[in-house]
């Protein structure tokens, strides 16, 4: 019972981290129709920049400055890269972001090398906040929850309650009309791209010390972010939040409990074959939930695509 509470908190941390990445990506996708393959690379850049800044100025300045740099870089990529490629259609745009992801990874390896970076949790947060029957919850995790929740509330407020947000939302669905009304739509696009990548940067800054800062960190997280926005529904902030939390909890619980496939199959009335080694279904019978935890989100995505192609909260018909 205690473990359930601990897992709920762990899943929440994983989910919120995913949300910070997918929030930016889903906005960018719905606005420009571009699947930004380099999105996770900006997350990696956030971590590396923050590490470099933290050496000189400490963690907190890193948290402040690194996302800004990443955001400006993201805006630059949109202004001088994507916008030029845009007129050639979607495929060149895809290839452009894909190439960018590879480029950033190589660049990071070139500058910082291939080793793990010793990017550490700041001393002010390096203590146990509280413990639930021996399982300590580090203060840094509480801090991560706090940061991501405030970002979500902030985004929601800007998008739904302010004039800027209304223009962005209008530009999402009717860019031509918004342009005709005298708004600078390309500037909005650039801004959204910048903010989206800056969010990924924030995620990198606070995930780097926990999940490790190394050149493979973008690759490890890259595909799952796309899965999140497909499940949540493209362009929906709420969808991104719900899908992120769902994925966070599903994977956490699947890893925490050793549910064996044989138990499930026995439960629905199938009996275990007597000689498992000869059975063609041996792998199916011996699989346990921690082994398949990381592919569960993909299974969920396939199901969503079959039964609700526009995602949990998506508004557009596919």
């Amino acid at each position: 019972m205690d473990l359930i509470l601990v897992n709920l908190i762990d899943g929440l941390v994983t989910g919120l981290l995913l949300f910070m990445l997918s929030a930016g990506l889903t906005l960018i996708f719905s606005m420009m129709g571009v699947l930004n393959f380099a999105h996770a690379s900006f997350y990696m850049l956030g971590a590396y920049f923050a590490y470099q800044i933290s050496i000189a100025l400490g963690f907190w300045m890193g948290l402040l400055i690194a996302p800004l740099i990443v955001g400006v870089m993201g805006a630059g990529v949109e202004r001088y890269g994507l916008r030029r490629v845009h007129k050639y259609g979607h495929v060149p745009e895809l290839i452009f972001t894909f190439g960018l992801a590879l480029l950033i990874e190589e660049l990071v390896q070139f500058i910082w090398g291939k080793n793990q970076m010793p990017y550490q949790i700041p001393d002010a947060l390096n203590f146990t906040a509280f413990a639930i029957s021996g399982n300590s919850i580090p203060a840094f995790k509480i801090f991560m929850i706090f940061i991501s929740v405030s970002i979500f509330i902030g985004l929601l407020f800007v998008l739904t309650k302010t004039r800027v947000g209304m223009i962005i939302q209008a530009a999402l669905s009717y860019p031509r009309t918004v342009e005709a009304l005298g708004h600078n739509v390309p500037l909005i696009f650039m801004g959204v791209f910048g903010v989206g990548t800056a969010l990924a940067g924030v995620a990198g800054v606070i995930a780097g010390p926990v999940l490790g800062t190394f050149p493979g960190m973008a690759f490890v997280l890259g595909s799952i972010v796309f899965v999140t926005i497909v499940i949540g529904g493209l362009g929906s902030l709420w969808g991104a939040l719900v899908a992120s939390l769902l994925i966070g909890w599903i994977t956490t619980f699947a890893k925490s409990y050793n549910i064996a496939m044989s138990d499930i199959l026995n439960g629905i009335g199938l009996s275990t074959p007597e000689n498992l080694d000869d059975s063609v279904f041996r792998d199916l019978w011996t699989v346990t939930s921690p082994q398949i935890a990381d592919i569960l989100p993909y299974i969920l995505m396939v199901l969503i695509l079959i039964f609700r192609p526009y995602g949990l909260f998506g508004k557009r018909d596919a």
Binding site: Q116, P118, Q120, N135, G212, F214, F219, T288, Q291
Partner: protein, 414 residues
């Protein structure tokens, strides 16, 4: 001015000629390991150590045989067995006779099979497999062949030595075993369960595998370990998986020792830093602190001068080069790999990192001293990752598993 230019041109030209003359006679070793992707750091550091060992031990001392130099040719296998076989073919086509590989026993299993097949079919272009780190016991047991030599202790030998040390610690009553889901991870787990069962009444409270290189966050695993009430953790994890698991286990409140195979170097030591002090323990050959010989100290200092950011975290690579060059010298040829392999078999060699090495002829498994060390910043002469932290030898098992059984039935070429 003109004269100087001419002099420069002439000396440059002579350098080029000199270099190409030496180049033509190099003894080449193909290094097939991951140089990109999640395990790139492990592969690249291994490559640096190979390149340095060859330069420092052979080339700067006038080469071997009639002054032939050794050369490392790097191939990136992206840790994929399929890619490795392609690279193996490329290496063979380039006329390379020695293949070095270490990261991932999955790759080593594929390579050893392919090399065995190749050598049977192409007696004119046979190659030797110098396995410097893949430790799946099968490679020197049921899958052994004449062409494969393992310079690291296999997972069983390491576990044998590790459990010898663990059973002497009265605080350890429950152990949690966790590893990567592939042949090596499974071999570690099987050996741990088997040997703990034989040597003690230590209870195994958890035994599980996780996908290799794909886990983003190890927190759920750490929770299970803490709530299982384990006193110690055993893991064979390496690369990013080792750091992720170790950090997570420590952060989430685990207090006991974490016994590992590979938790050092490649940035891992620096990233653990203070948090891992006196918790992370390592079973390995060739201890660095305290350093064994003056030669080793001088070698390490030269390495640090060349690679300020690097570590010698796989000192056995120097044993590979030392033993191979000795075998080539004794055989009098580098082209006839059967002669070289026959010299390697049963070779006794004094390692500069301390202790005697013995290449057991019946299975081509190197027998050597095993050390259990602790991650600390006290009494460290050679730290890793410039972090002040390093691995200090706590206990040593001499010539570990010298008489261990092997199921290998070595087939030697006619």
């Amino acid at each position: 001015m003109k004269n100087i230019t001419r002099l420069g041109a002439v000396s440059a030209l002579s350098l080029i000629i000199g270099a190409s003359a030496a180049f033509a006679e190099n003894i080449k070793i193909a290094f097939i390991d991951p140089l990109s992707g999640p395990f790139a750091s492990t592969g690249t550091n291994g490559l640096h150590q190979f390149e340095f060992a060859v330069d420092h031990m052979i080339n700067e001392k006038g080469g071997i045989l009639d002054g032939q130099n050794m050369e490392i040719v790097a191939f990136d296998n992206k840790i994929s067995p399929k890619e490795s076989l392609i690279q193996l073919q490329v290496a063979i086509d380039q006329g390379i006779r020695y293949i070095a590989q270490g990261n991932s026993s999955g790759v080593a299993n594929a390579l050893t099979e392919a090399i065995d097949k190749h050598n049977r079919r192409n007696p004119d272009s046979r190659v030797l497999f110098l396995n410097y780190a893949a430790v799946d016991p099968a490679l020197t047991n049921e899958k052994c062949n004449f062409w494969h030599f393992r310079f690291d202790a296999n997972a069983d030998i390491k576990m044998d030595a590790l459990t010898d040390v663990m059973v002497q610690n009265p605080d350890i009553k429950k152990v949690y075993i966790i590893g990567q889901d592939y042949s090596f991870g499974k071999a570690v787990a099987a050996a741990a369960v088997d040997m703990l069962g034989k040597k003690s009444d230590i209870e195994v409270v958890g035994n599980e595998l996780h996908p290799i290189g794909k886990v983003k966050d190890f927190t759920p695993y750490a929770r299970k370990i803490v709530s299982s009430g384990a006193d110690a953790v055993i893991t064979g994890n390496w690369g990013a998986d080792m750091l992720g698991l170790g950090k997570s286990v420590i952060e989430n409140g685990f207090e006991g020792p974490i016994y590992t195979y590979y938790a050092a170097g490649s940035g891992i030591t620096a990233a653990f830093g203070e948090s891992g002090k006196d918790k992370i323990r390592l079973i390995a050959q060739g201890g660095i602190n305290p350093i064994a010989t003056e030669e080793a100290r001088e070698t390490y200092e030269a390495f640090e001068a060349k690679y300020p950011d690097g570590n010698i975290d796989q000192s056995r690579i120097f044993n590979v080069i030392g033993m191979l060059s000795k075998a080539i010298e004794e055989a009098g040829t580098a082209d006839d790999v059967v002669a070289v392999a026959s010299k390697l078999e049963g070779m006794e060699y004094d390692s500069m990192w301390g202790g005697k090495l013995f290449m057991r002829p019946q299975d081509h498994q190197l027998i050597q001293d095993m050390h259990v060390g602790v991650h600390t910043d006290e009494n460290i002469e050679f730290d890793y990752d410039k972090s002040g932290f390093g691995v200090l030898t706590e206990s040593t098992v001499e010539m570990a598993s010298m008489d261990s059984p092997t199921s290998c039935e070595m087939k030697r070429p006619e």
